[in-house]
């Protein structure tokens, strides 16, 4: 990722609540469904060919039961703080809603989650009323199509008044494979041409160029066939490619695949509490994890108190994901 200080579109559209991902998927594949409202003129240079609007949802509060189920599933402490991955679950549907905006130039169906970078500025308590802003930026050519970044910002009150501060910021990079849009230039900070984490329906995965040398493992994840269903239940992301072999086959996968954010969030959880409450957490996705499956994992500390992690197929040596957790 490059510097992510690109400003958000000044036009703000407040949604009544965080959309359901299921409904968004349905609208993505069923063109007859109504789309969310948006503006289709006067795009600023930063958002050329992208919806020039920031979606906003106020008063977002975590559901304690959903939080507990998330914490149990991912191995996070069952405390009253929101794990960084849970904030993604909470807020990202607002960004996803932009991907079915009439001005969004790429089809949600077939999109691949290439990478994710989260900045957690402080501990967020479970009962805080959060405000979510989301916008799209940086439409860019990618060797395999067109990529775009979805920025999700979560703010919370601080002090005694109503002043808000950004407490969590996520940048999710997506690739529309094989899609080229005129007027889009290559991003100078290009991601590796990997096959990543398919986000939406109908994204069969080709072979990725292997430049990955597996480190010594520190852990092994034995993921059963229900892994995708369980993360779907706590995240609301019920994309059929994660739910069963049958539904995954319908979209070109040999078996169900694990949610990429499940793997990244589990690596974050297993990096432990030593990183503190403020940190940056990144992941780059390579080959998807087929379910059931076993993932060889390495999570090691660095000298600066951070962690680097990666996951791979122990038999083939092919990389599934890699990332970092860096205290700030």
């Amino acid at each position: 990722m490059g510097p992510d200080m690109v400003g958000r579109p000044s036009a703000v559209k407040t949604l009544p609540g965080v959309p359901e991902l299921g409904g968004l998927y349905a609208r993505a594949v069923l063109p007859g469904w109504p789309r969310l409202p948006g503006r289709s003129s006067g795009a600023s240079p930063d958002h050329a060919s992208l919806p020039d609007v920031t979606y906003r949802v106020a008063d977002v509060v975590a559901d304690p039961e959903q939080l507990l189920r998330y914490q149990r599933l991912l191995g996070e402490p069952a405390d009253d703080a929101l794990p960084a991955g849970f904030v993604h679950v909470l807020a990202f549907p607002v960004a996803m809603a932009l991907m079915i905006h009439p001005d969004f130039p790429l089809p949600l169906a077939g999109m691949v989650h290439l990478a994710n970078a989260v900045t957690m500025s402080r501990v967020i308590r479970a009962d805080e009323r959060l405000e979510v802003h989301a916008w799209a930026r940086r439409l860019a050519l990618h060797p395999r199509g067109t990529q775009v970044e979805l920025v999700t910002e979560v703010s919370a009150r601080y002090g005694a008044g109503d002043a808000m501060e950004v407490v969590w910021r996520g940048v999710s990079t997506y690739l529309a494979k094989g899609v080229e849009r005129s007027g889009v230039t290559a991003d100078p900070v290009d991601a590796d041409p990997v096959d990543a984490d398919p986000v939406a329906v109908g994204a069969p995965v080709a072979d990725a160029p292997a430049v990955f040398t597996p480190p010594m493992p520190t852990a092994r994840w034995t993921l059963d066939a229900g892994t995708g269903r369980r993360y779907a239940a706590v995240s609301g992301d019920r994309n059929p490619i994660h739910l069963s072999a049958l539904t995954a086959k319908a979209f070109g996968f040999p078996r169900a695949i694990a949610h990429g954010m499940y793997t990244a969030a589990r690596a974050l959880a297993e990096s432990g509490a030593g990183r503190g409450g403020a940190f940056e957490w990144t992941v780059v996705f390579a080959k998807p994890v087929l379910l059931p499956g076993t993932v060889a994992v390495s999570i090691t500390g660095d000298d600066a108190g951070g962690f680097v992690y990666s996951g791979w197929n122990a038999r083939s040596g092919k990389e599934h994901f890699s990332g970092t957790v860096t205290p700030t």
Partner: protein
């Protein structure tokens, strides 16, 4: 049941207002007893932890005439423990011929359970809180507890708390077919999902420990254990049980050549060739063991022998979760600290009892102590900790041959070490020392110094650095 009269006269009296602790007090090892260790699903397939621990306890009672005796404390545990065994040690006391007035508690520190129990009771004896104790442990793979799945467990709990029939029925609505599969106990590390063998395979690869040296250590363990049995060494340490008179895993004719034929079972997906086989790894086993520890006065008053004294103990832990150190490397940390505190070096020991979780666990520990870089950066030493004379290592065999019922290993080793130093001291007339080191799940490790006990109380107090 015949009961001995209580013997309060053996409790030392101290002036009012001064602590009972007396720096001269020692914790001495009177002796030990265990049942032969069985292979999982073998001779003890129908024996529970309580059955085996009670058998080990009763063997000790018979050996030292403790029928009806009120022991200061019985401390024991097991690693794979059923929730109904919450008071395992106390239940075993009640099922034994010890006085029912003998208190007990359970302790669990994975494979270090037995050794930690010995250290704990020794400390109480040295503090003057108790005069006698029995420490040990039992473990069974054959009779391991099986739990219901998380989904079914939550449904059952919800139903049991429900106030109406409809609420009870509703509680079960969440149960899925997959929830009906039982949850068998896992020996995987909870935080990494890797089995202990896989963890050790990583450590083995990191330290470049070869297949041949592992097989040689395994063969020596079998040969040494067989020779010790043949020499009658275990005649007063082991009581036959359920048809077993020797450890079922023992292969007296084991050899490097035979072991070399086995295929690797751990580390097969690592980049380097796998070296760990079923032959140079401990088998899953069933068994129980106990050791009798006392104050010198108590032993004398009961006309019991004194083999050795527990000098000091040290526990350590390593950060294995993020691969900073190997899972089973904690003893490499515990021993240098223990020896430094007691002003001893590796050269001061006649015997090294290093638990053979895997042959390579022993070898990586020894390699670490010889590695200047590791000793400096990880152990905080100035240079290599040192080497040991291999002829002093596990001289009567260890876990590779005997088997390793997790919590039972500590008391097996302590009783063996006590007898070894007692015999050596009797031969030479000099103080003899054994170093005991046990690695455990969770990146834990415990080490202890066992020293021959001179016949005159206090006569050997000056022979070591005066720990505690």
């Amino acid at each position: 049941m015949p009961r001995r009269p209580q013997t309060p006269t053996t409790i030392p009296t101290t002036p009012a207002g001064t602590p009972a602790h007396d720096a001269g007090r020692e914790a001495v090892i009177v002796g030990g007893n265990r049942i032969p260790f069985a292979r999982a699903g073998g001779a003890y397939a129908n024996a529970s932890n309580q059955d085996m621990l009670t058998a080990a306890l009763d063997g000790l009672v018979a050996r030292f005439g403790l029928q009806g005796e009120r022991i200061g404390e019985v401390v024991a545990g097991s690693v794979l423990k059923h929730s109904r065994d919450f008071n395992l040690a106390r239940e075993c006391v009640l099922g034994s011929s010890l006085s029912p007035q003998t208190p007990a508690y359970d302790l669990q520190q994975a494979c270090a359970t037995g050794l930690e129990a010995v250290i704990g009771v020794s400390n109480k004896i040295r503090l003057g809180q108790i005069e006698s104790a029995i420490a040990g442990g039992a473990d069974t793979i054959s009779d391991a507890p099986i739990a219901v799945s998380e989904g079914l467990r939550r449904a059952l709990l919800k139903a049991s708390h429900a106030k109406s029939l409809s609420a009870r029925i509703k509680a079960f609505a969440s149960v899925r077919p997959a929830d009906l599969a039982p949850a068998t106990p896992r020996t995987d590390e909870p935080r990494t999902g890797l089995s202990m063998g896989e963890h050790q395979a990583i450590t083995t690869a990191t330290w470049s420990i070869g297949r041949e040296e592992q097989d040689a250590l395994a063969a020596a363990s079998h040969q040494n254990l067989a020779a010790a049995y043949d020499a009658g060494f275990f005649d007063d340490l082991v009581t036959p049980y359920k048809g077993l008179v020797r450890d079922a895993n023992l292969r007296p004719d084991s050899s490097v050549e035979k072991l070399a034929k086995l295929s690797p079972v751990f580390g097969t997906s690592l980049a380097v060739p796998a070296t760990m086989t079923a032959g140079n790894s401990t088998p899953l086993s069933d068994g129980a063991s106990v050791v009798l520890v006392a104050s010198r006065a108590w032993a004398r008053d009961h006309d019991l022998p004194v083999l050795a004294r527990v000098v000091d103990g040290e526990s350590a832990a390593v950060d294995y979760v993020h691969g900073h150190d190997g899972l089973l490397m904690a003893p490499a940390h515990a021993v240098p600290r223990l020896l430094a505190r007691n002003a001893l070096t590796l050269d001061d020991f006649d015997f090294f009892e290093i638990h053979e979780a895997f042959a390579s666990t022993v070898l990586t520990t020894l390699a670490a102590w010889e590695d200047a870089d590791y000793c400096r950066t990880e152990l905080g030493l100035d240079g290599p900790f040192g080497s040991i004379d291999r002829s002093r290592l596990n001289v009567t065999g260890s876990s590779l041959a005997a088997g390793h019922p997790f919590a039972a290993t500590g008391a097996r080793i302590v009783a063996t070490a006590a007898k070894l130093v007692a015999n050596r001291a009797a031969e030479t007339g000099k103080v003899s020392r054994a170093l005991v080191s046990i690695c455990a799940a969770g990146g834990l490790g415990v080490a202890a110094i066992i020293e021959s006990a001179a016949s005159v109380p206090g006569a050997d107090a000056a022979t070591t650095g005066g720990a505690l």
